[in-house]
Protein backbone atom coordinates (compact mmCIF):
# COMPACT_ATOMS: atom_id res chain seq x y z
CA UNK A 1 0.00 0.00 0.00
CA UNK A 2 1.47 3.34 -1.01
CA UNK A 3 1.52 6.29 1.42
CA UNK A 4 -0.88 8.09 -0.92
CA UNK A 5 -3.27 5.15 -0.82
CA UNK A 6 -2.99 5.08 2.99
CA UNK A 7 -3.82 8.78 3.17
CA UNK A 8 -6.84 8.38 0.91
CA UNK A 9 -8.01 5.36 2.92
CA UNK A 10 -7.72 7.26 6.19
CA UNK A 11 -9.64 10.24 4.83
CA UNK A 12 -12.41 8.04 3.42
CA UNK A 13 -12.62 6.07 6.67
CA UNK A 14 -12.91 9.21 8.80
CA UNK A 15 -15.63 10.64 6.54
CA UNK A 16 -17.62 7.40 6.84
CA UNK A 17 -17.22 7.33 10.64
CA UNK A 18 -18.47 10.94 10.73
CA UNK A 19 -21.52 9.91 8.69
CA UNK A 20 -22.25 7.09 11.16
CA UNK A 21 -21.96 9.45 14.15
CA UNK A 22 -24.17 12.04 12.46
CA UNK A 23 -26.92 9.52 11.68
CA UNK A 24 -26.83 8.20 15.26
CA UNK A 25 -27.18 11.70 16.70
CA UNK A 26 -29.86 12.68 14.19
CA UNK A 27 -32.06 9.69 15.02
CA UNK A 28 -31.93 10.42 18.74
CA UNK A 29 -32.47 14.17 18.51
CA UNK A 30 -34.62 14.62 15.39
CA UNK A 31 -35.31 11.35 13.62
CA UNK A 32 -37.87 10.00 16.04
CA UNK A 33 -40.10 12.98 15.34
CA UNK A 34 -39.55 12.63 11.62
CA UNK A 35 -40.26 8.92 11.42
CA UNK A 36 -43.30 9.19 13.66
CA UNK A 37 -44.64 12.15 11.68
CA UNK A 38 -44.27 10.43 8.32
CA UNK A 39 -46.48 7.58 9.41
CA UNK A 40 -49.16 9.83 10.85
CA UNK A 41 -48.40 9.66 14.55
CA UNK A 42 -49.83 12.87 15.93
CA UNK A 43 -48.56 15.34 18.47
CA UNK A 44 -44.87 15.18 17.57
Amino acid sequence: MTPEQKRRNRTAGLVLFAVVAAIFAWVIFRGSDFLGGVAGLTGR
Binding site: A12, L16, V20, I23, V27, S32, L35, G36, G40, L41
Partner: protein, 536 residues
Protein backbone atom coordinates in the same frame (compact mmCIF):
# COMPACT_ATOMS: atom_id res chain seq x y z
CA UNK B 1 -16.73 -8.17 -16.54
CA UNK B 2 -13.00 -7.96 -16.42
CA UNK B 3 -10.35 -9.92 -18.21
CA UNK B 4 -6.95 -10.32 -16.67
CA UNK B 5 -3.65 -9.75 -18.41
CA UNK B 6 -1.11 -10.01 -15.66
CA UNK B 7 -1.88 -12.94 -13.45
CA UNK B 8 -1.23 -13.51 -9.83
CA UNK B 9 1.80 -12.71 -7.78
CA UNK B 10 2.95 -15.58 -5.66
CA UNK B 11 4.23 -15.13 -2.11
CA UNK B 12 7.59 -13.55 -1.86
CA UNK B 13 7.21 -11.56 -5.07
CA UNK B 14 6.19 -8.52 -3.15
CA UNK B 15 7.02 -5.00 -4.10
CA UNK B 16 9.05 -4.20 -1.02
CA UNK B 17 9.44 -0.55 -1.89
CA UNK B 18 6.06 0.60 -0.72
CA UNK B 19 4.54 -2.18 1.22
CA UNK B 20 4.13 -2.49 4.94
CA UNK B 21 3.20 -6.18 5.16
CA UNK B 22 5.24 -8.68 7.08
CA UNK B 23 6.00 -11.34 4.55
CA UNK B 24 6.53 -14.30 6.84
CA UNK B 25 3.39 -16.29 7.53
CA UNK B 26 2.75 -16.06 11.28
CA UNK B 27 2.15 -19.32 13.09
CA UNK B 28 0.39 -20.61 16.19
CA UNK B 29 -2.22 -18.71 18.18
CA UNK B 30 -0.64 -15.35 17.31
CA UNK B 31 -1.57 -15.90 13.67
CA UNK B 32 -5.24 -15.83 14.63
CA UNK B 33 -5.36 -13.49 17.63
CA UNK B 34 -3.33 -10.79 15.90
CA UNK B 35 -4.50 -11.63 12.40
CA UNK B 36 -4.42 -8.82 9.88
CA UNK B 37 -4.51 -10.99 6.77
CA UNK B 38 -7.88 -10.78 5.03
CA UNK B 39 -7.96 -14.51 4.32
CA UNK B 40 -7.32 -15.50 7.94
CA UNK B 41 -9.88 -13.01 9.19
CA UNK B 42 -12.36 -14.23 6.57
CA UNK B 43 -11.84 -17.80 7.76
CA UNK B 44 -12.40 -16.76 11.38
CA UNK B 45 -15.62 -14.94 10.42
CA UNK B 46 -16.86 -18.05 8.64
CA UNK B 47 -16.02 -20.36 11.55
CA UNK B 48 -17.67 -18.00 14.03
CA UNK B 49 -20.80 -17.72 11.93
CA UNK B 50 -21.06 -21.50 11.56
CA UNK B 51 -20.74 -21.97 15.33
CA UNK B 52 -23.51 -19.42 15.81
CA UNK B 53 -25.58 -21.17 13.12
CA UNK B 54 -25.31 -24.36 15.14
CA UNK B 55 -26.28 -22.53 18.34
CA UNK B 56 -29.23 -20.79 16.69
CA UNK B 57 -30.18 -24.05 14.99
CA UNK B 58 -30.13 -25.92 18.29
CA UNK B 59 -32.49 -23.32 19.76
CA UNK B 60 -34.75 -23.77 16.72
CA UNK B 61 -34.84 -27.52 17.30
CA UNK B 62 -35.72 -26.97 20.96
CA UNK B 63 -38.63 -24.79 19.80
CA UNK B 64 -39.74 -27.41 17.30
CA UNK B 65 -39.48 -30.14 19.97
CA UNK B 66 -41.86 -28.24 22.23
CA UNK B 67 -44.22 -27.65 19.30
CA UNK B 68 -44.37 -31.31 18.27
CA UNK B 69 -47.54 -31.71 20.32
CA UNK B 70 -50.08 -29.27 21.73
CA UNK B 71 -49.77 -28.48 25.41
CA UNK B 72 -46.57 -27.80 27.32
CA UNK B 73 -44.13 -30.73 27.27
CA UNK B 74 -40.62 -29.51 27.97
CA UNK B 75 -40.36 -25.76 28.52
CA UNK B 76 -42.21 -23.06 30.38
CA UNK B 77 -43.67 -20.42 28.02
CA UNK B 78 -41.20 -17.85 29.43
CA UNK B 79 -38.25 -20.04 28.42
CA UNK B 80 -39.87 -20.79 25.04
CA UNK B 81 -40.04 -17.03 24.40
CA UNK B 82 -36.38 -16.68 25.33
CA UNK B 83 -35.48 -19.43 22.86
CA UNK B 84 -37.53 -17.73 20.13
CA UNK B 85 -35.90 -14.36 20.72
CA UNK B 86 -32.38 -15.70 20.98
CA UNK B 87 -32.84 -17.89 17.90
CA UNK B 88 -33.70 -14.77 15.89
CA UNK B 89 -30.95 -12.57 17.33
CA UNK B 90 -28.27 -15.24 16.96
CA UNK B 91 -29.22 -16.16 13.40
CA UNK B 92 -29.47 -12.55 12.16
CA UNK B 93 -26.57 -10.90 14.00
CA UNK B 94 -24.38 -13.92 14.75
CA UNK B 95 -24.76 -16.23 11.76
CA UNK B 96 -25.98 -14.65 8.51
CA UNK B 97 -24.39 -11.18 8.76
CA UNK B 98 -20.92 -12.34 9.89
CA UNK B 99 -20.96 -15.11 7.27
CA UNK B 100 -21.36 -12.58 4.47
CA UNK B 101 -18.64 -10.39 6.02
CA UNK B 102 -16.43 -13.50 6.03
CA UNK B 103 -17.09 -13.96 2.32
CA UNK B 104 -16.33 -10.28 1.72
CA UNK B 105 -13.05 -10.55 3.61
CA UNK B 106 -11.97 -13.57 1.62
CA UNK B 107 -13.20 -12.61 -1.81
CA UNK B 108 -13.36 -8.81 -2.23
CA UNK B 109 -9.56 -8.21 -2.20
CA UNK B 110 -9.03 -11.25 -4.43
CA UNK B 111 -11.71 -10.13 -6.88
CA UNK B 112 -10.55 -6.52 -7.19
CA UNK B 113 -6.83 -7.31 -7.20
CA UNK B 114 -6.04 -5.70 -3.82
CA UNK B 115 -3.32 -7.00 -1.52
CA UNK B 116 -5.56 -6.84 1.57
CA UNK B 117 -8.37 -4.87 3.14
CA UNK B 118 -7.83 -1.13 3.56
CA UNK B 119 -7.74 -1.19 7.37
CA UNK B 120 -6.14 -4.49 8.35
CA UNK B 121 -5.94 -3.84 12.11
CA UNK B 122 -9.49 -2.52 12.28
CA UNK B 123 -10.47 -5.70 10.45
CA UNK B 124 -8.96 -7.71 13.31
CA UNK B 125 -10.84 -5.61 15.87
CA UNK B 126 -14.11 -5.99 13.92
CA UNK B 127 -13.78 -9.74 14.09
CA UNK B 128 -12.75 -10.09 17.72
CA UNK B 129 -15.75 -8.05 18.84
CA UNK B 130 -17.94 -10.87 17.55
CA UNK B 131 -16.96 -13.62 20.02
CA UNK B 132 -17.31 -11.07 22.83
CA UNK B 133 -20.86 -10.30 21.67
CA UNK B 134 -21.69 -13.95 21.03
CA UNK B 135 -20.53 -15.06 24.47
CA UNK B 136 -22.34 -12.21 26.18
CA UNK B 137 -25.58 -12.96 24.37
CA UNK B 138 -25.36 -16.65 25.21
CA UNK B 139 -24.44 -15.88 28.81
CA UNK B 140 -27.62 -13.83 29.17
CA UNK B 141 -29.52 -17.12 29.59
CA UNK B 142 -27.88 -17.45 32.99
CA UNK B 143 -28.64 -14.05 34.53
CA UNK B 144 -31.65 -13.58 36.84
CA UNK B 145 -34.82 -13.71 34.74
CA UNK B 146 -32.98 -15.33 31.87
CA UNK B 147 -32.35 -14.00 28.39
CA UNK B 148 -34.45 -11.39 26.70
CA UNK B 149 -37.81 -12.72 25.53
CA UNK B 150 -39.12 -9.67 23.68
CA UNK B 151 -38.66 -11.12 20.19
CA UNK B 152 -35.65 -10.28 17.98
CA UNK B 153 -37.21 -6.87 17.33
CA UNK B 154 -37.04 -6.01 21.06
CA UNK B 155 -40.33 -4.13 20.89
CA UNK B 156 -41.24 -1.69 23.62
CA UNK B 157 -43.00 -1.75 26.06
CA UNK B 158 -42.08 -5.42 26.71
CA UNK B 159 -38.38 -4.66 26.34
CA UNK B 160 -38.70 -1.87 28.92
CA UNK B 161 -39.95 -4.31 31.53
CA UNK B 162 -37.47 -7.18 31.32
CA UNK B 163 -34.54 -8.10 33.54
CA UNK B 164 -30.79 -7.77 33.05
CA UNK B 165 -30.87 -10.23 30.12
CA UNK B 166 -32.38 -7.39 28.11
CA UNK B 167 -29.46 -5.10 28.98
CA UNK B 168 -27.02 -7.77 27.87
CA UNK B 169 -28.93 -8.13 24.59
CA UNK B 170 -28.79 -4.35 24.03
CA UNK B 171 -25.07 -4.25 24.83
CA UNK B 172 -24.47 -7.23 22.54
CA UNK B 173 -26.28 -5.55 19.66
CA UNK B 174 -24.22 -2.41 20.21
CA UNK B 175 -21.05 -4.48 20.03
CA UNK B 176 -22.11 -6.53 17.00
CA UNK B 177 -23.37 -3.37 15.32
CA UNK B 178 -20.04 -1.60 15.91
CA UNK B 179 -18.29 -4.62 14.41
CA UNK B 180 -20.52 -4.51 11.33
CA UNK B 181 -20.05 -0.74 10.92
CA UNK B 182 -16.28 -1.14 10.98
CA UNK B 183 -16.55 -4.05 8.56
CA UNK B 184 -18.70 -1.96 6.21
CA UNK B 185 -16.32 1.01 6.30
CA UNK B 186 -13.45 -1.35 5.55
CA UNK B 187 -15.25 -2.85 2.56
CA UNK B 188 -16.30 0.53 1.12
CA UNK B 189 -12.81 1.99 1.39
CA UNK B 190 -11.20 -1.18 0.03
CA UNK B 191 -13.46 -1.24 -3.02
CA UNK B 192 -13.29 2.48 -3.72
CA UNK B 193 -9.56 2.99 -3.13
CA UNK B 194 -7.76 -0.29 -3.68
CA UNK B 195 -8.93 -1.71 -6.99
CA UNK B 196 -6.23 -2.90 -9.39
CA UNK B 197 -5.39 -0.63 -12.34
CA UNK B 198 -8.02 -1.07 -15.01
CA UNK B 199 -10.59 -2.53 -12.60
CA UNK B 200 -13.23 0.16 -13.12
CA UNK B 201 -16.39 -0.01 -11.04
CA UNK B 202 -18.37 -1.39 -13.96
CA UNK B 203 -15.82 -4.18 -14.47
CA UNK B 204 -16.07 -5.38 -10.87
CA UNK B 205 -17.59 -8.78 -10.21
CA UNK B 206 -21.20 -8.49 -9.08
CA UNK B 207 -20.31 -9.89 -5.65
CA UNK B 208 -18.19 -6.76 -5.03
CA UNK B 209 -20.96 -4.51 -6.32
CA UNK B 210 -23.59 -6.09 -4.10
CA UNK B 211 -21.24 -5.82 -1.12
CA UNK B 212 -20.42 -2.17 -1.87
CA UNK B 213 -24.12 -1.32 -1.87
CA UNK B 214 -24.73 -3.49 1.20
CA UNK B 215 -21.91 -1.72 3.04
CA UNK B 216 -23.52 1.67 2.35
CA UNK B 217 -26.81 0.26 3.67
CA UNK B 218 -25.02 -0.87 6.83
CA UNK B 219 -23.46 2.55 7.31
CA UNK B 220 -26.86 4.18 6.92
CA UNK B 221 -29.03 1.96 9.10
CA UNK B 222 -26.90 0.43 11.85
CA UNK B 223 -26.59 3.82 13.60
CA UNK B 224 -30.40 3.93 13.53
CA UNK B 225 -30.56 0.58 15.34
CA UNK B 226 -27.88 1.75 17.75
CA UNK B 227 -29.92 4.89 18.47
CA UNK B 228 -33.14 2.91 18.94
CA UNK B 229 -31.64 0.51 21.46
CA UNK B 230 -29.77 3.36 23.18
CA UNK B 231 -33.14 5.06 23.69
CA UNK B 232 -34.44 1.75 25.08
CA UNK B 233 -31.51 1.68 27.47
CA UNK B 234 -32.05 5.26 28.66
CA UNK B 235 -35.77 4.55 29.09
CA UNK B 236 -34.88 1.51 31.19
CA UNK B 237 -32.24 3.09 33.41
CA UNK B 238 -31.92 6.84 33.04
CA UNK B 239 -35.43 8.17 33.38
CA UNK B 240 -36.23 9.08 29.78
CA UNK B 241 -39.61 8.27 28.27
CA UNK B 242 -39.10 7.88 24.53
CA UNK B 243 -41.23 4.74 24.37
CA UNK B 244 -43.00 4.89 27.71
CA UNK B 245 -46.66 5.92 27.34
CA UNK B 246 -46.90 6.78 31.04
CA UNK B 247 -44.26 9.49 30.48
CA UNK B 248 -45.75 10.84 27.26
CA UNK B 249 -43.71 8.57 25.00
CA UNK B 250 -45.00 6.15 22.41
CA UNK B 251 -44.15 2.44 22.11
CA UNK B 252 -45.20 2.49 18.44
CA UNK B 253 -42.45 5.01 17.82
CA UNK B 254 -39.93 2.28 18.67
CA UNK B 255 -41.41 0.16 15.91
CA UNK B 256 -40.94 2.98 13.40
CA UNK B 257 -37.32 3.54 14.37
CA UNK B 258 -36.57 -0.19 14.54
CA UNK B 259 -38.06 -0.97 11.13
CA UNK B 260 -36.31 2.00 9.54
CA UNK B 261 -33.27 -0.13 10.34
CA UNK B 262 -35.01 -3.49 10.05
CA UNK B 263 -36.21 -3.43 6.49
CA UNK B 264 -32.88 -2.40 4.93
CA UNK B 265 -31.42 -5.08 7.21
CA UNK B 266 -33.43 -7.64 5.25
CA UNK B 267 -31.62 -6.52 2.10
CA UNK B 268 -28.30 -6.44 3.91
CA UNK B 269 -28.82 -10.17 4.39
CA UNK B 270 -29.85 -10.88 0.79
CA UNK B 271 -27.93 -8.53 -1.55
CA UNK B 272 -24.56 -10.28 -1.04
CA UNK B 273 -26.43 -13.55 -1.67
CA UNK B 274 -27.48 -12.10 -5.04
CA UNK B 275 -23.80 -11.37 -5.69
CA UNK B 276 -22.77 -14.96 -4.96
CA UNK B 277 -25.48 -16.39 -7.19
CA UNK B 278 -24.50 -13.91 -9.93
CA UNK B 279 -20.97 -15.34 -9.82
CA UNK B 280 -22.05 -18.99 -9.88
CA UNK B 281 -24.80 -19.03 -12.51
CA UNK B 282 -22.59 -17.70 -15.37
CA UNK B 283 -19.75 -20.05 -14.34
CA UNK B 284 -21.87 -23.20 -14.64
CA UNK B 285 -23.93 -21.97 -17.60
CA UNK B 286 -20.63 -21.11 -19.33
CA UNK B 287 -22.01 -17.77 -20.47
CA UNK B 288 -21.48 -14.15 -19.53
CA UNK B 289 -23.93 -12.84 -16.95
CA UNK B 290 -26.95 -11.51 -18.81
CA UNK B 291 -27.56 -7.80 -18.16
CA UNK B 292 -24.57 -6.97 -15.93
CA UNK B 293 -25.35 -3.24 -15.83
CA UNK B 294 -29.03 -3.83 -15.13
CA UNK B 295 -28.02 -6.11 -12.24
CA UNK B 296 -25.98 -3.27 -10.73
CA UNK B 297 -28.81 -0.78 -11.16
CA UNK B 298 -31.37 -3.26 -9.82
CA UNK B 299 -29.23 -3.81 -6.71
CA UNK B 300 -28.95 -0.06 -6.15
CA UNK B 301 -32.71 0.36 -6.72
CA UNK B 302 -33.51 -2.31 -4.15
CA UNK B 303 -31.21 -0.56 -1.67
CA UNK B 304 -32.87 2.85 -2.23
CA UNK B 305 -36.39 1.42 -2.05
CA UNK B 306 -35.55 -0.42 1.17
CA UNK B 307 -35.47 2.95 2.98
CA UNK B 308 -39.03 3.94 2.13
CA UNK B 309 -41.05 0.82 2.94
CA UNK B 310 -40.39 0.22 6.64
CA UNK B 311 -43.94 0.57 7.94
CA UNK B 312 -45.24 -2.40 5.96
CA UNK B 313 -44.12 -4.36 9.03
CA UNK B 314 -46.61 -2.35 11.08
CA UNK B 315 -49.89 -2.32 9.16
CA UNK B 316 -51.71 -3.62 12.21
CA UNK B 317 -50.62 -0.72 14.47
CA UNK B 318 -53.50 1.43 13.28
CA UNK B 319 -51.72 3.83 10.97
CA UNK B 320 -53.78 6.08 8.66
CA UNK B 321 -55.17 4.51 5.48
CA UNK B 322 -53.14 6.89 3.30
CA UNK B 323 -49.94 5.70 5.00
CA UNK B 324 -51.03 2.08 4.54
CA UNK B 325 -51.65 2.67 0.85
CA UNK B 326 -48.30 4.40 0.39
CA UNK B 327 -46.31 1.67 2.16
CA UNK B 328 -48.25 -1.04 0.32
CA UNK B 329 -47.54 0.35 -3.16
CA UNK B 330 -43.94 1.31 -2.34
CA UNK B 331 -43.31 -2.24 -1.14
CA UNK B 332 -44.76 -3.71 -4.31
CA UNK B 333 -42.27 -1.60 -6.31
CA UNK B 334 -39.41 -3.68 -4.91
CA UNK B 335 -40.61 -6.66 -6.91
CA UNK B 336 -39.54 -4.85 -10.11
CA UNK B 337 -35.74 -4.73 -9.54
CA UNK B 338 -35.92 -8.12 -7.83
CA UNK B 339 -37.71 -9.49 -10.89
CA UNK B 340 -34.98 -7.99 -13.10
CA UNK B 341 -32.45 -10.06 -11.20
CA UNK B 342 -34.41 -13.30 -11.37
CA UNK B 343 -35.06 -12.87 -15.10
CA UNK B 344 -31.38 -12.05 -15.70
CA UNK B 345 -30.27 -15.25 -13.95
CA UNK B 346 -32.75 -17.25 -16.01
CA UNK B 347 -31.62 -15.49 -19.21
CA UNK B 348 -28.02 -16.31 -18.28
CA UNK B 349 -28.92 -19.98 -18.04
CA UNK B 350 -30.94 -19.88 -21.27
CA UNK B 351 -29.15 -21.91 -23.95
CA UNK B 352 -26.08 -22.18 -21.74
CA UNK B 353 -23.93 -25.32 -21.53
CA UNK B 354 -25.13 -26.01 -18.06
CA UNK B 355 -23.75 -28.52 -15.60
CA UNK B 356 -25.06 -29.03 -12.12
CA UNK B 357 -22.20 -29.30 -9.68
CA UNK B 358 -23.11 -28.54 -6.05
CA UNK B 359 -22.62 -24.72 -6.23
CA UNK B 360 -24.95 -24.56 -9.24
CA UNK B 361 -27.52 -26.79 -7.56
CA UNK B 362 -27.59 -24.49 -4.55
CA UNK B 363 -27.73 -21.42 -6.84
CA UNK B 364 -30.66 -22.80 -8.87
CA UNK B 365 -32.31 -23.98 -5.64
CA UNK B 366 -31.84 -20.45 -4.31
CA UNK B 367 -33.51 -18.89 -7.35
CA UNK B 368 -36.49 -21.24 -7.16
CA UNK B 369 -37.14 -21.19 -3.43
CA UNK B 370 -36.15 -17.56 -2.83
CA UNK B 371 -38.62 -16.54 -5.53
CA UNK B 372 -41.35 -18.36 -3.63
CA UNK B 373 -40.36 -16.34 -0.55
CA UNK B 374 -40.46 -13.20 -2.65
CA UNK B 375 -43.99 -13.95 -3.81
CA UNK B 376 -45.27 -14.51 -0.28
CA UNK B 377 -43.62 -11.17 0.54
CA UNK B 378 -45.65 -9.57 -2.20
CA UNK B 379 -48.80 -11.11 -0.75
CA UNK B 380 -47.86 -9.78 2.70
CA UNK B 381 -47.36 -6.30 1.26
CA UNK B 382 -51.10 -6.09 0.58
CA UNK B 383 -52.30 -4.30 3.71
CA UNK B 384 -55.70 -6.02 4.14
CA UNK B 385 -54.11 -9.47 3.80
CA UNK B 386 -51.24 -8.54 6.07
CA UNK B 387 -53.65 -7.46 8.80
CA UNK B 388 -55.21 -10.95 8.61
CA UNK B 389 -51.98 -12.91 8.77
CA UNK B 390 -49.87 -10.49 10.83
CA UNK B 391 -47.84 -12.33 13.49
CA UNK B 392 -48.92 -15.73 12.21
CA UNK B 393 -46.88 -18.65 10.86
CA UNK B 394 -47.46 -17.31 7.35
CA UNK B 395 -44.93 -14.59 8.17
CA UNK B 396 -42.59 -17.16 9.74
CA UNK B 397 -42.78 -19.24 6.53
CA UNK B 398 -42.20 -16.16 4.36
CA UNK B 399 -39.05 -14.91 6.03
CA UNK B 400 -37.55 -18.37 6.40
CA UNK B 401 -38.00 -18.88 2.65
CA UNK B 402 -36.06 -15.66 2.15
CA UNK B 403 -33.42 -16.08 4.85
CA UNK B 404 -32.81 -19.84 4.82
CA UNK B 405 -33.50 -20.81 1.22
CA UNK B 406 -32.27 -17.36 0.24
CA UNK B 407 -29.31 -16.22 2.31
CA UNK B 408 -28.22 -19.58 3.74
CA UNK B 409 -28.48 -21.49 0.44
CA UNK B 410 -26.43 -18.76 -1.27
CA UNK B 411 -23.84 -19.07 1.50
CA UNK B 412 -23.66 -22.82 0.90
CA UNK B 413 -23.42 -22.22 -2.86
CA UNK B 414 -20.58 -19.75 -2.34
CA UNK B 415 -18.78 -22.03 0.09
CA UNK B 416 -18.76 -24.97 -2.36
CA UNK B 417 -17.81 -22.61 -5.22
CA UNK B 418 -14.82 -21.01 -3.50
CA UNK B 419 -13.86 -23.88 -1.13
CA UNK B 420 -11.21 -25.20 -3.60
CA UNK B 421 -9.66 -21.71 -3.59
CA UNK B 422 -9.75 -21.52 0.21
CA UNK B 423 -8.46 -25.00 1.02
CA UNK B 424 -6.67 -26.19 -2.13
CA UNK B 425 -8.83 -29.32 -2.23
CA UNK B 426 -11.99 -30.25 -4.08
CA UNK B 427 -14.96 -31.14 -1.94
CA UNK B 428 -16.70 -34.48 -2.46
CA UNK B 429 -19.34 -33.93 -5.14
CA UNK B 430 -21.31 -36.87 -3.75
CA UNK B 431 -21.46 -35.28 -0.27
CA UNK B 432 -22.27 -31.88 -1.75
CA UNK B 433 -25.19 -33.22 -3.77
CA UNK B 434 -26.46 -35.22 -0.80
CA UNK B 435 -26.28 -32.06 1.29
CA UNK B 436 -28.18 -30.06 -1.33
CA UNK B 437 -31.04 -32.48 -1.93
CA UNK B 438 -31.39 -33.30 1.74
CA UNK B 439 -31.45 -29.59 2.64
CA UNK B 440 -33.84 -28.60 -0.15
CA UNK B 441 -36.39 -31.29 0.63
CA UNK B 442 -36.18 -30.98 4.42
CA UNK B 443 -36.36 -27.19 4.19
CA UNK B 444 -39.65 -27.42 2.32
CA UNK B 445 -40.96 -30.12 4.65
CA UNK B 446 -40.23 -27.73 7.54
CA UNK B 447 -41.49 -24.45 6.21
CA UNK B 448 -44.08 -25.14 3.49
CA UNK B 449 -46.71 -26.36 6.00
CA UNK B 450 -46.20 -23.17 7.99
CA UNK B 451 -47.96 -21.18 5.25
CA UNK B 452 -51.11 -23.18 5.92
CA UNK B 453 -50.70 -22.99 9.68
CA UNK B 454 -50.52 -19.21 9.36
CA UNK B 455 -53.48 -18.93 7.01
CA UNK B 456 -55.47 -21.08 9.47
CA UNK B 457 -54.65 -18.64 12.27
CA UNK B 458 -51.71 -20.18 14.15
CA UNK B 459 -49.94 -17.25 15.86
CA UNK B 460 -46.13 -17.10 15.93
CA UNK B 461 -44.11 -17.16 19.17
CA UNK B 462 -46.64 -19.39 21.00
CA UNK B 463 -45.52 -22.40 23.02
CA UNK B 464 -48.94 -24.06 22.83
CA UNK B 465 -51.64 -24.34 20.18
CA UNK B 466 -55.09 -25.69 19.41
CA UNK B 467 -55.29 -29.38 18.51
CA UNK B 468 -56.26 -28.81 14.86
CA UNK B 469 -52.76 -27.50 14.11
CA UNK B 470 -51.04 -30.66 15.37
CA UNK B 471 -50.39 -32.52 12.10
CA UNK B 472 -48.74 -29.62 10.30
CA UNK B 473 -46.65 -28.80 13.38
CA UNK B 474 -45.48 -32.40 13.54
CA UNK B 475 -44.50 -32.37 9.85
CA UNK B 476 -42.59 -29.12 10.43
CA UNK B 477 -40.78 -30.57 13.45
CA UNK B 478 -39.73 -33.70 11.54
CA UNK B 479 -38.50 -31.50 8.68
CA UNK B 480 -36.59 -29.25 11.08
CA UNK B 481 -34.64 -32.16 12.61
CA UNK B 482 -33.96 -33.53 9.11
CA UNK B 483 -32.73 -30.09 7.99
CA UNK B 484 -30.56 -29.72 11.08
CA UNK B 485 -28.94 -33.13 10.61
CA UNK B 486 -28.36 -32.34 6.91
CA UNK B 487 -26.02 -29.54 7.93
CA UNK B 488 -23.69 -32.09 9.51
CA UNK B 489 -23.08 -33.36 5.95
CA UNK B 490 -21.95 -29.84 5.06
CA UNK B 491 -19.66 -29.68 8.09
CA UNK B 492 -18.12 -33.04 7.15
CA UNK B 493 -17.69 -32.04 3.49
CA UNK B 494 -15.88 -28.83 4.47
CA UNK B 495 -13.72 -30.45 7.15
CA UNK B 496 -12.62 -33.10 4.62
CA UNK B 497 -11.17 -30.33 2.46
CA UNK B 498 -9.35 -28.74 5.39
CA UNK B 499 -8.06 -32.22 6.33
CA UNK B 500 -6.61 -32.38 2.80
CA UNK B 501 -8.80 -35.27 1.75
CA UNK B 502 -10.01 -35.13 -1.81
CA UNK B 503 -8.52 -34.13 -5.13
CA UNK B 504 -6.03 -31.24 -5.08
CA UNK B 505 -7.73 -28.24 -6.65
CA UNK B 506 -6.24 -26.49 -9.70
CA UNK B 507 -6.07 -22.69 -9.76
CA UNK B 508 -9.34 -22.59 -11.71
CA UNK B 509 -11.45 -25.64 -10.93
CA UNK B 510 -14.53 -24.38 -12.76
CA UNK B 511 -14.31 -24.21 -16.55
CA UNK B 512 -16.65 -21.26 -16.94
CA UNK B 513 -15.47 -19.22 -13.94
CA UNK B 514 -14.15 -15.72 -14.52
CA UNK B 515 -12.35 -13.27 -12.27
CA UNK B 516 -9.04 -12.46 -10.66
CA UNK B 517 -9.49 -14.95 -7.83
CA UNK B 518 -8.98 -17.81 -10.29
CA UNK B 519 -5.61 -16.45 -11.40
CA UNK B 520 -3.96 -17.23 -8.07
CA UNK B 521 -3.04 -20.80 -7.07
CA UNK B 522 -5.28 -22.98 -4.91
CA UNK B 523 -5.11 -22.63 -1.97
CA UNK B 524 -4.71 -18.88 -2.32
CA UNK B 525 -1.25 -17.91 -1.00
CA UNK B 526 -1.03 -15.97 2.26
CA UNK B 527 -0.15 -12.82 0.33
CA UNK B 528 -1.68 -12.11 -3.07
CA UNK B 529 -1.62 -9.21 -5.52
CA UNK B 530 1.13 -7.31 -3.71
CA UNK B 531 1.98 -6.11 -7.18
CA UNK B 532 -1.44 -5.19 -8.56
CA UNK B 533 -2.50 -7.12 -11.65
CA UNK B 534 -3.42 -5.32 -14.87
CA UNK B 535 -7.05 -5.59 -15.81
CA UNK B 536 -8.17 -4.96 -19.37
Amino acid sequence: MSSVTAGHVSPGHADHGHDDHHHATPTGWRRWLFATNHKDIGTMYLIFSFVMLLEGGTLALLLRTELFEPGLQFFRPELFNQFTTMHGLIMVFGAIMPAFVGFANWMVPLQIGASDMAFARMNNFSFWLLPVGGIMLTASFFVPGGATAAGWTLYAPLSLQMGPGMDLAIFTMHILGASSIMGAINIIVTILNMRAPGMTLMKMPLFCWTWLITAFLLIAVLPVLAAAITMLLTDRHFGTGFFNAAMGGDPVLYQHVFWFFGHPEVYIMILPAFGIVSAIVPAFARKKLFGYASMVYATASIAVLSFIVWAHHMFSTGMPVTAQLYFMYATMLISIPTGVKVFNWIATMWKGSMTFETPMLFAVGFIFVFTMGGFTGLILSVAPIDIQVHDTYYVVAHFHYVLVAGSLFALFAGTYYWLPKWTGYMYSEKLGKLHFWSSLISFNVTFFPMHFLGLAGMPRRYADYAAQFTTFHQIATIGAFWFGLSQLIFLYAVLRCYARKGEPAPAKPWEGAEGLEWTVPSPAPFHTFETPPEVK
